[in-house]
């Protein structure tokens, strides 16, 4: 029987869900989003600012795709959900009835109630509107301060740098992003950031933002008491689920929308996926809220099956992720913590350029490999995933490293050097 499936949010999660539902069924699909009419790649916003691409280039599908695949798009704001009447309430006061509802509303930028955070020239970066605002806010300015050193913070630094704007980064941690990266890698990235003349201040926090008489930012004061003049402040201290509109709906929430392993909320026909979903019970080795591109996609694929065929539990494979810090690419497979656990051992190799490194984490008793961190080189996902699944030992991995090299042709390969380093280390210890 044909049902009406309504999806709130046209990000990677909502759109992947819609596409897969269409593949598997004939249901009526409506995707609602207040941000932009068409799906775009949030991860590519920075490239639009830097002039690598236009906005239309970061839309992964042509505009005609949606009609062709009978996916109805609604450029509207949802202000409430009534799960009992099975309707969503739109900002224009109209209501839309659903049989099944998928909440894929993503995140909003986190804020910490800093004095002055509402001054003109102070902003975060998440949405398309943020990008437009940033373009406006950074016209003809000379100096910017970025608060917070995560992945969005460094992207913002690169964006500003591309327009010759001076950047100071205030990072609470001892080393850049060392809540995730082990010290060596964090130092390497910190050094690289400084090569770009970014003034990276570690162990430094924002106290307040100061404005001028027109309500525009003119400086920030740090906890160490220093005042830094600037005309722009980027607040990049993380994101949190975008669920304010669900407050009175009766749908259970905590930090995010609470879901079980079927991605189902406490209400039978209401589901949540992507950045906004929070797992009630932790899946092994995963976080309760997974705020990355791939996981939104995978949850959406899973849910589409549940909605159209039989119920399927979310069962992600090995963790992986990637990023880029200015010119240094980063890939990770499996779990690499910033500090190795008691029962873990680490092999770390760094190239003398200070731009390439490989970390392999393994169990100290069985030598089974549990994670890879690689910088400035590319490893083959398929092979790393296979090694992790097959519980390969570190010796096996080192011996076959060549198989996993994914660098372009003619690139210098380092696997021999790495194997050499591995074996000489064994001898010395």
């Amino acid at each position: 029987m044909q049902q009406h499936i309504v999806i709130i949010g046209n990000g990677i999660s909502g759109i992947t869900c819609a596409r897969n539902i269409r593949k598997l069924s004939d249901h009526r699909i409506t995707v609602i989003s207040a941000e932009t009419k068409h799906f775009f790649s949030r991860t590519a916003l920075m490239y639009v600012y830097m002039g690598h691409m236009r906005f239309e280039d970061i839309k992964p599908y042509e505009d005609g795709f949606w009609e062709k695949n009978r996916i109805e798009l609604m450029h509207q704001h949802v202000i409430g959900v009534d799960p009992i009447a099975k309707t969503v309430l739109l900002a224009n006061s109209s209501r839309l009835t659903f049989d099944k509802l998928v909440i894929a509303s993503g995140s909003v930028s986190a804020r910490f109630d800093w004095p002055g955070q509402n001054l003109k020239g102070v902003q975060s970066l998440y949405s398309f509107q943020d990008l437009e605002l940033m373009n406006e806010n950074t016209k003809d300015i000379k100096q910017a301060v970025i608060v917070g050193g995560g992945l969005i913070g460094i992207e913002m630094a690169e964006m500003l740098h591309s327009r010759q704007i001076g950047v100071t980064m205030l990072v609470r941690e001892k080393k850049f992003w060392d809540t995730v990266l082990p010290t060596q890698e964090a130092s390497m990235i910190g050094d690289h950031i400084r090569e770009y003349k970014i003034d990276l201040r570690q162990e430094e926090e924002l106290l307040e933002i100061n404005g001028d008489e027109n309500g525009k930012v003119k400086s920030v004061t740090t906890k160490n008491g220093e005042e830094i003049a600037c005309q722009f402040v980027g607040l990049t201290v993380g994101v949190k689920p975008n669920i304010a509109f669900l407050r009175e709906s009766g749908i259970e929430t905590d930090k995010g929308v609470l879901v079980n392993e079927f991605l189902q909320t406490n209400v039978q026909d209401v589901f949540a996926i992507g950045d906004c979903a929070q797992f009630k019970t932790l899946l092994k080795g995963r976080k309760a809220i997974e705020q990355v591109w791939y996981t939104g996609r995978m949850q959406a694929e899973t849910l589409a099956n549940t909605l159209c065929k039989q119920p399927v539990t979310y069962n992600p494979g090995n963790w992986f992720n990637s990023a880029k810090f200015f010119d240094i690419e980063y890939q990770t497979y499996g779990i690499v913590l910033n500090k190795a656990l008691e029962n873990e051992e680490v092999f770390y190799w760094k190239h003398n350029s200070n731009k390439r490194s490989l970390r392999i984490v393994f169990m100290n008793d069985t030598k089974v490999v549990t994670g890879f961190n690689v910088f400035g080189m590319r490893l083959r996902h398929e092979i790393c995933d296979k090694w992790l699944n097959e519980k390969s030992t570190v010796d096996q991995v080192i011996a076959n490293l060549q198989e996993a090299v994914f660098d372009p042709e003619f690139y210098k390969s380092y696997y021999k050097e790495i194997a050499h380093a591995y074996h000489s280390k064994l001898i010395t210890t």
Binding site: Y47, G51, Y294
Partner: protein, 454 residues
């Protein structure tokens, strides 16, 4: 209510800083062009050598200075900042002006060469030295073309210096242009041999298998002409399929061919302008295979005519050849192919017109070890690969599904892999089996096994 105004919403109000050294480089390049213009209007005719040295010297040295200053002062890495906020590289006023200029130049050189008499004459000393004969318009054209490949090739070398693939490949196209398409044909003439381009083959250099060319080469005194006919035919019919089987069409289109060479050097700043739409892909398939059919029919007609001494087709086959030369050889590959670089992107000819690319492409699609592999689930659908694909391939549409890219039109330039911020793409030669992967699902999700088709 789509309040998002695409393309125009983001503009860069911070013009890039150009320092004194970059400016002097640019001034030198402009001076070089001005000297050519002075020659064009007939000033200082008496001193051709001086004009020649001044103009080409300033063009080359100016661009070298500019390039070194622009790229060696910054870190290695992707250099695409501001491409879409700069007039010249985003179809702005400057782009149109440049496009019109190049187009005019092509129109003049094909149909009004007498206008170029003065400029051609400054090439005489160099032409006499290299070829032992005075310059003509094609010598002028070849010199400018080679200069563009040299100067902009040097720029590409520095711009992409972080990629060994790009370094080696760019060196290769520069070498083939300079040696095989310029110096060797010149020297052949110096030694009274037929002018021959060892790096061009039928059907791109369509007349190399026309009976008239074959006859005149074979009848050329000495063995050289026979060797040339043999060389051309051997490459077209034997080496091409073998090399394409092992390496894909890139061995030619991105490593040897002069058209590809110009596109990947002088045209590099414009590669993002290629049309990625599905519609453009449809037009491409129609047009490129039509040109291929056209040249095959023309060649066959000419041979039948030659064998039967014109008794069957009379003038018909000659008219076919003339039409092909005019519409395809001159208008398509020259005027549109290069003149429209700043508007339609760099490989318009290679993509929509070149019959050589068409043949290599068919083979690449069905019988080759070449493919671009994607790295599991790492793609973030950012679109850099598609945007910078000069052949207008929507690389992202494959990458985000984890599918290998096996496309007839891919010239294997490798730029998609070079600009991808997540290390997702790799050009590879490997087993023909499973080359066209239709992976059920991206790596990482063990929940379901779907069939990605949509």
């Amino acid at each position: 209510m789509d309040n998002t105004n695409p393309s125009l919403s983001i503009s860069n109000p911070h013009p890039e800083h150009t320092d004194w050294m970059q400016k002097s480089g640019l001034v030198l390049v402009l001076s070089g062009l001005s000297v050519l213009f002075l020659a064009f209007i007939g000033i200082a005719k008496q001193a051709p050598l001086i004009l020649f040295v001044l103009s080409f010297g300033m063009l080359l040295s100016g661009s070298v200075i500019y390039t070194i200053r622009t790229y060696l002062t910054v870190h290695e890495g992707v250099k695409n900042n501001h491409n879409f906020s700069r007039s010249l590289t985003s179809r702005g006023v400057l782009a149109w002006m440049l496009g019109i200029l190049i187009t005019l130049f092509y129109i003049i050189i094909y149909w009004y060469p007498q206008l170029l008499q003065n400029v051609i004459s400054i090439m005489n000393p160099f032409s006499n030295l290299l070829r032992g004969r005075p310059a003509d318009r094609w010598f002028l054209y070849g010199s400018l073309y080679t200069t563009a490949v040299l100067a902009m090739g040097f720029k590409a070398l520095l711009k992409y210096r972080y990629s060994n693939y790009q370094r080696i490949r760019t060196s290769s196209v520069i070498f083939f242009q300079l040696a095989f398409s310029f110096l060797i044909p010149g020297l052949l003439q110096l030694f009274n041999q037929p002018e021959f381009y060892f790096s061009y083959f039928w059907p791109l250099k369509y007349d190399y298998l026309f009976p008239s060319t074959v006859h005149s080469l074979i009848n050329h005194p000495g063995g050289m002409g026979v060797f040339m006919v043999f060389w051309g035919a051997a490459i077209t019919f034997i080496a091409t399929p073998i090399l394409t089987y092992f390496f894909g069409k890139r061995w030619y289109c991105s490593w040897v061919c002069g058209c590809g060479g110009l596109a990947n050097t002088a045209g590099d700043p414009f590669r993002q302008l290629s049309d990625k739409s599905i519609k453009a892909w449809k037009i491409e398939r129609w047009s490129v295979y039509s040109v291929l059919v056209f040249i095959i029919i023309t060649t066959i007609l000419l041979w039948i005519n030659s064998i039967t001494n014109g008794s069957i087709f009379g003038e018909l086959s000659q008219n076919f050849a003339k039409a092909y030369g005019f519409f395809i050889g001159a208008i398509f590959s020259g005027v549109i192919g290069v003149g429209f670089y700043p508007i339609m992107g760099t490989r318009v000819w290679c993509r929509f017109g070149c019959p050589m690319a068409a043949i290599l492409g068919i083979q690449q699609k069905f019988f080759s070890r070449f493919r671009i592999t994607t790295n599991g689930g790492q793609c973030i659908s950012c679109g850099n690969c598609s945007t910078y694909c000069e052949m207008g391939i929507d690389v992202r549409s494959y990458a985000q599904k984890g599918q290998n890219i096996v496309r007839a039109s891919c010239v294997g330039c490798g730029i998609c892999a070079t600009v991808c911020p997540r290390g997702v793409l790799k050009l590879e030669n490997g087993s023909v089996q499973n080359r066209v992967s239709n992976q059920p699902i991206l790596i990482g999700n063990n929940s379901v096994r779907l069939n990605e088709q949509l």
